[in-house]
């Protein structure tokens, strides 16, 4: 079997580095090109991972004839890059949120339907060993019917401040709500097999000084069948928190409960202040980026293998995010679908 040629369309998102490293581990795939609207960023990325840097997306498509594109630009640029990729008939792995507006999300979904390519949304938590184990337990009926899920996916503020565009609303589309509602809403949809029927969100006054987007919020989403879900994706962990952040779920079923702390498996490092200060957790377990890209490659090679998270799943998460902002703005629960 020949190697699949991968390119990046946008590498502003920090996850692009994780994806590039995952590609290096796969025999079936090779990274050949990188485009970014910032030529400097494309060049640095290309040098780091051995890919040709391009200043023009179409030119990269023409020259490299890629099998697959990973879109990892700033959130607000996803839609344009995704649509162009699909118009060129190329398979696509798209960073979440797939878009920052509902109109864009509709555009992407219909482009995906027309193009007939593999479209996989980077809902990376569908590929983590812990959350997958839970999926199997739930499917086997281990705790009966899901009644409620409490989910948190909070971040160390340093994880945000490393990338100035994260707090630039024109590029990010928003703050913590935009960043992490998608992950939790998606895993809750995946676990419950149900859709959100109403969502209510409060935003707090900011914790991080001098940023232009919200950094903390609390959301309650009621899913069909009266499944109650709580979402917190705040950027509220101080910079001394010993890792990038966390992802936890407490799932209440009719016949038991499951607690998940997906990034629990760490070796803890604590340092003397005069050397580097503070402590760090070094995660050692399942690499969900790698598993996700492996699964994407499998979808391309074997058309009977379907993406675990599709453009429609991306759309639903964006819908929940947009509804959250509406609710926070208007101070009322917002009914879905929008």
């Amino acid at each position: 079997m020949r190697e699949l040629k991968f390119v990046f369309a946008g590498v502003a998102h920090v996850h692009s580095h994780g994806y590039a490293m995952s590609l290096k581990e796969l025999k079936e795939a090779r990274l050949v090109g990188v485009y970014d609207h910032s030529p400097e960023r494309a060049k640095i990325f290309g040098q780091k991972y051995g890919a040709t840097a391009y200043e023009n997306l179409e030119e990269m498509f023409r020259r490299e004839r890629p099998d697959a594109v990973i879109v990892a630009s700033e959130n607000a640029r996803h839609a344009e890059l995704a649509v162009k990729t699909m118009e060129n008939g190329i398979h696509i792995l798209c960073e979440k949120p797939i878009t920052t507006t509902l109109e864009d999300a509709k555009r992407v979904v219909s482009a995906a339907r027309r193009a007939g390519v593999v479209f996989q949304t980077c809902f990376v938590m569908r590929y983590h060993s812990a959350t997958l184990t839970v999926k199997e337990l739930l499917e086997a009926g281990a705790i009966g019917e899901i009644r409620a899920i409490l989910g948190t996916n909070r971040l160390n503020v340093n994880s945000i401040l490393v990338e100035p565009w994260f707090t630039d609303p024109g590029l990010s589309g928003g703050g913590a709500i935009m960043d992490h509602t998608a992950h939790l809403a998606d895993i809750m949809r995946w676990y419950t097999g149900s859709e959100i029927e109403s969502i209510y969100t409060e935003t707090g006054a900011n914790i991080i000084p001098n940023i232009r987007v919200e950094d903390n919020f609390l959301t309650i989403a009621r899913f069909r069948g009266n499944k109650l879900c709580s979402i917190d994706g705040s950027w509220c962990f101080p910079d001394t928190y010993p890792s990038w952040g966390e992802f936890t779920l407490t799932i209440y079923g009719s016949d038991g409960m499951i607690a998940v702390d997906a990034f629990r498996q760490n070796v803890a490092q604590l340092s003397f202040k005069n050397t580097e200060g503070g402590g760090r957790l070094h995660y050692y377990s399942s690499d969900p980026n790698l598993e996700m890209i492996k699964d994407f490659v499998k979808c391309i090679i074997d058309p009977s293998h379907k993406p675990r998270a599709t453009a429609e799943d991306g759309y639903r998460a964006t819908e929940a995010t947009v509804a959250s902002y509406m609710s926070a703005r208007e101070g009322r629960p917002v009914a879905l679908p929008l």
């Binding site: 060993s129 812990a130 016949d255 499951i258 607690a259 070796v267 070094h282 050692y284 399942s286 690499d287």
Partner: protein, 339 residues
């Protein structure tokens, strides 16, 4: 033998035999074809679960030309003679730790392995555990500065599922069977050898003749001091426990498997925990190649298929064995033993 499938026989149908067999099923380019156990019924039961052949005598698989490698998961006392027979028969060998019960047979195994013309690897699986690899990585990249002190613990409940562990003569007790994991890890991680060892052992009496608790103090050549605790004295309700703490001039690291459980399920019937990196629950859905046993076996298979030297040679493993035996000697004599 790059285009050929590596056919493997697992020797010993006990707990570790099945653990290894489950991993062999997932290794690309390899195929477990037979399981051997002197208790024919045990071999048949395991073989039928995995749909492979059963034998009651290793000689029968050694005679089969289509079998390329054997994976020895039998009680320690049987290891060396089986290594010898397998190497003579031209089979590659993976052998469970501890390699042997005494230095004489350990050294014999080393000389057989050296001139055998096949790959022989000792299954020191801790080198394939993600958390212990991460600790080594942190030490290697200087995150701790110069390491000064190490503490490790390895605690289980009495292994009563079989008779030989609790027989001091057959397993060597915790100061050999259990602590050899940590001794081997420390030698590998610190890239240093112990020069002095002092150990104390305890026997509860309820757990056969084997020492079921031991504290072992080590002094390494470059000055690191280490304590390794090994125990089979936990009640059966206590979870198997692994702790590693390393202290250096820049800082410390800490790992405790009891605190590192990502999935906990609670029901009326009780609590179940899941560490999915240890459990290939359903390989079709969760192909996580991070299970340490899988990694170890996959690496051994690749060493054969790609003609590489295995990472844990017998000549290396006997150094870990030697430290454990010195610990037992120290416990017997009540004084430190120099190596």
């Amino acid at each position: 033998m790059s285009n050929k499938t590596l056919n493997v026989a697992v020797i010993g149908a006990g707990f570790m035999g099945e653990t290894h067999l489950a991993s062999w099923m997932l290794v690309q380019g390899a195929k477990p074809v037979a399981v051997v156990d002197i208790v024919a019924e045990r071999a048949r039961a395991l073989a039928s679960r995995y749909n492979i052949e059963a034998y009651d005598d290793i000689e029968k698989v050694l005679r089969r030309p289509d079998i390329d490698a054997v994976d020895i998961c039998t009680p320690t006392e049987t290891h060396v003679v089986q290594i010898e027979r397998a190497v003579e028969a031209g089979k590659h060998v993976l052998v469970e730790k501890p390699l042997a019960l005494d230095m004489k047979s350990g050294e014999r195994a080393a000389s057989i392995a050296e001139k055998g013309g096949v790959k022989v690897m000792v299954a020191h699986v801790l080198r394939y555990f993600s958390e212990y690899r991460k600790a080594k990585e942190l030490v290697d990249n200087g995150a701790l500065g110069e390491v000064r002190q190490v503490r490790s613990s390895r605690r289980g409940s009495p292994p009563r599922w079989t008779d030989w562990y609790l027989d001091e003569k057959r397993s060597g007790g915790v100061s050999l069977d259990l602590v050899i994991h940590d001794i081997d890890f420390l030698r590998w991680c610190l890239e240093d050898e112990a020069e002095r060892v002092y150990a104390v052992e305890s026997r509860s009496g309820e757990n056969g003749s084997a020492a079921d608790h031991a504290f072992i103090l080590l002094k390494f050549k470059r000055g690191v001091i280490a304590q390794a605790e090994a125990s089979w004295a936990q009640p059966p309700t206590a979870p198997f426990t692994m702790i590693l703490e390393m202290f250096g001039t820049r800082g410390m690291l800490k790992y405790d498997n009891r605190e590192n459980v990502p999935v906990v399920m609670t029901k009326n019937a009780g609590v179940s925990t899941f560490s999915p990196d240890r459990l290939p629950l359903s390989p079709t859905k969760m192909p996580f190649p991070i299970d340490p046993y899988y990694r170890e076996i996959e690496d051994f298979a690749r060493c054969i298929l790609e003609d590489r030297e295995p990472p844990v040679l017998v000549s290396d493993a006997i150094k870990s064995l030697k430290v454990c035996l010195a610990a037992k000697e120290s416990a017997r004599r009540g004084e430190p033993v120099s190596l």
